[in-house]
């Protein structure tokens, strides 16, 4: 048995660790790329959302490396993702890929069924104690990854050389992926912190904004966690000199979705529904209510702008998007909505981001007295 799984941002590091510690052979599909999306789009239903198209692409690319079993999480709705496991299984079967599909969820609410599925994946040799210990370690890794990511968010607008910052991020990811001890994970986080601090003095001599714009990213979880899907929006904003924060981090999702709220993660998503109450008092599936709540929270914390991203036809986010104008009105914070699909182009998004950042920066420039008609004609007020 060779296990594979769909990509979602940095999640592969955590999942790879999980299976490797249990001595299960695992195939990490090639990172999301144009090719992945092309392969997936060919097989997916036209109006399915972008995550499904990328998922299918991941599976097809993993076949070449000998994967024969897919692990995916499930759900009981009302977001569509919960049913994708079954649809993807049928699509792959009809397309001639001999995949076995294991959905990690309690089938019809039976925890015993879930235990059976975990046992099937882990094999007979691993004790439950070991499985739990591995789960805990994988979870720690996800928290560390989120910490590193957040440090990079802060470093991007402040460090002079963007290429160096990206390199630091890549190196840190590799280090976390490779280490197999808790100490190693902690060391890596400290190493990233120190590397950023080392480069900080350069900042003072270098004339760069010391108080960058702050932009909150909210929206559908797959799109905001996966840099390929969001067309590298965080990196792009960082390069434009804005500090980015995000509503949902990987470990927050793992804590809530996989551990059923037993672990809070790096940033807990549990407080968001309360913030959303005045605007959207009921959950709408997916992370729709969290999106609205995060927008309110960012607005209250004084963020300069908020960007919502979601894949075309995402149901919960459409509900959130139609509520957000009222948040925008109440807090006077600009909110931009970006919808992505397989036709999204890099240049288009870049232009919109630049325009948005310009708009936010203009607010901070001191208001000049308005020029009068006579002054214009008199050239320079003479």
């Amino acid at each position: 048995m060779k296990v594979t799984f769909p990509h979602m941002g940095n999640a592969w590091i955590v999942i790879q660790t999980l299976f490797e510690s249990l001595n299960v052979e695992v195939v990490v599909p090639p990172l999301n790329s144009k090719r992945t999306l092309q392969l997936g789009t060919r097989l997916s239903p036209e109006s399915a959302c972008l995550p499904m198209k990328l998922n299918l692409g991941n599976y097809i690319e993993a076949v070449k490396e000998g994967a024969d079993t897919i692990v995916i999480t499930g759900g009981i709705g009302p977001c569509r993702f919960g049913y994708y496991g079954e649809v993807e299984r049928q699509i792959l079967r009809d397309a001639g890929y001999a995949y076995d599909m294991v959905t990690l969820e309690p089938p019809d609410g039976s925890l015993l069924g879930l235990a059976g599925r975990i046992r099937y994946l882990a094999g007979a040799k691993n004790s439950w104690g070991k499985i739990l210990k591995t789960l805990r370690f994988a979870y720690l890794k996800s928290v560390a990854l989120d910490r590193v990511e957040d440090l990079i968010h802060a470093a991007r607008p402040r460090l002079p050389d963007p290429r160096e910052t990206e390199k630091l991020y890549e190196d840190a990811k590799v280090r976390i992926a490779q280490t197999m001890t808790e100490l190693g994970v902690k060391e890596t986080v400290r190493w990233v912190q120190e590397s950023i601090r080392e480069r900080q003095p350069v900042l003072n001599t270098y004339e760069r904004v010391s108080n960058p714009l702050r932009i909150g990213i909210i929206g559908e979880i797959y799109t905001i966690l996966d840099p390929y899907t969001s067309v590298g929006i965080e990196e792009e904003l960082g390069r434009l000199g804005a500090e980015v924060d995000r509503s949902i981090y990987l470990s927050g999702w793992i804590g809530n979705h996989v551990f059923q709220g037993l672990a809070p993660g790096y940033r807990s998503i549990r407080s968001y529904p309360d913030y959303a109450k005045p605007y959207l008092p009921h959950f709408v599936g997916g992370h729709g209510q969290e999106t609205v709540g995060a927008a309110v929270k960012f607005a209250q914390e004084g963020f300069d702008g908020i960007i919502q991203i979601f894949p075309l036809s995402c149901m919960p986010e459409i509900v959130a998007a139609s509520v957000l104008p009222r948040v925008q009105e109440a807090y006077k914070v600009p909110i931009m909505t970006l919808i992505v699909d397989e036709h999204t182009g890099h240049a288009g998004i870049q232009t919109r981001l630049e325009a948005f950042v310009d708009l936010l920066e203009r607010k901070n420039i001191e208001p000049r007295s308005e020029q009068k008609r006579g002054e214009v004609l008199g050239f320079g007020g003479r």
């Binding site: 036209e46 049913y83 009222r326």
Partner: protein, 346 residues
Amino acid sequence: MKIGFPRALFYYDYFPFWAGFFHELGIEVVTSPPTQRQIMEQGLKKASDETCLPLKLLAGHIQAFKDVDAIFLPRMVSVEADTYSCPKFLGIPESLLSAVPSGMRVLTVTLNWRKGTRQVLKDLQVFGLQLGKGKADIGKALTVGQEWQKRYQNSSGEGFDFEESLREIESTTQDLPYSPKGIVPNYDTDRLRIALVGHSYLTHDPYANLNILKRLRAKADVELVQHVKQEEIEVHLLGLRKKIFWKHAKQIYGAGNKFVTDPKIDGIIYLSCFGCGTDAVVQELLARFAREQHKPYMTITLDEHSGEAGLVTRLEAFLDMVERRKVHEGYISTHGERLDCDSNTL
């Protein structure tokens, strides 16, 4: 008190329940006029761009009310254990507040059968306080509402005419006399029999679907999802590895599956709308099954730009194809069995 009930979205499936509920409480319920151009245009102006046609229509219907004390927009979270409605139903009324005329009162209540009758009763009682009704009244109204809904659903099955049934209920709520038209559908064995599957708010709204039902009926006998009994739907859901968790989707998939296996049905038309999330999943499953069983199958996707001429051409082509297949028997060659295996356009 006079309450406005928009003739859109949940109207086609759940109006009997709410009609019975309010009738028992002595509250008059007025429905908005059938969808027409002005309603659609108003809706397009006020609803968000990304949302689907039915919600845009609902936004239009909300603005069509005159002389009512309040507009009723229930949040139908779930109407059956272990299922949900579409997420867009869950976002009502918040996502539609921009369409409500200023100064108009909006009444809303959360209906969630996932948590059982007790929770529903509790939510309705809180709602009753807004209406000035006591707990006992609400309890009685709930029972009556359920009775009306049950009667409506039980009358489904072969030969069920939703238009007649809904008209009967509407007349009762406004204390108008009702005279049944009494058209008995006659099933002619020589005519084609086409199944039209899709959400009730698409198949039942003649303006939204460009009168597809009437057009089809002129040339063939038409079966709808509502013509299939609940028990039969349940049987046809058993083939799935994982239960579908949307109520509407379950009904559509179960009934669609039945139509695919039913030799009396000559062809299936799936009526969907652009941006429908649940249809993306169900349509795919159903198309696969129909292809496997060699059943003529076509998807029509509606949106606010749908043109009549395009629809008519497609319908005619489809019916011709089905007709020809019936006469000449349409197995082409065994070799071509999987010629369409790469196609996802079905």
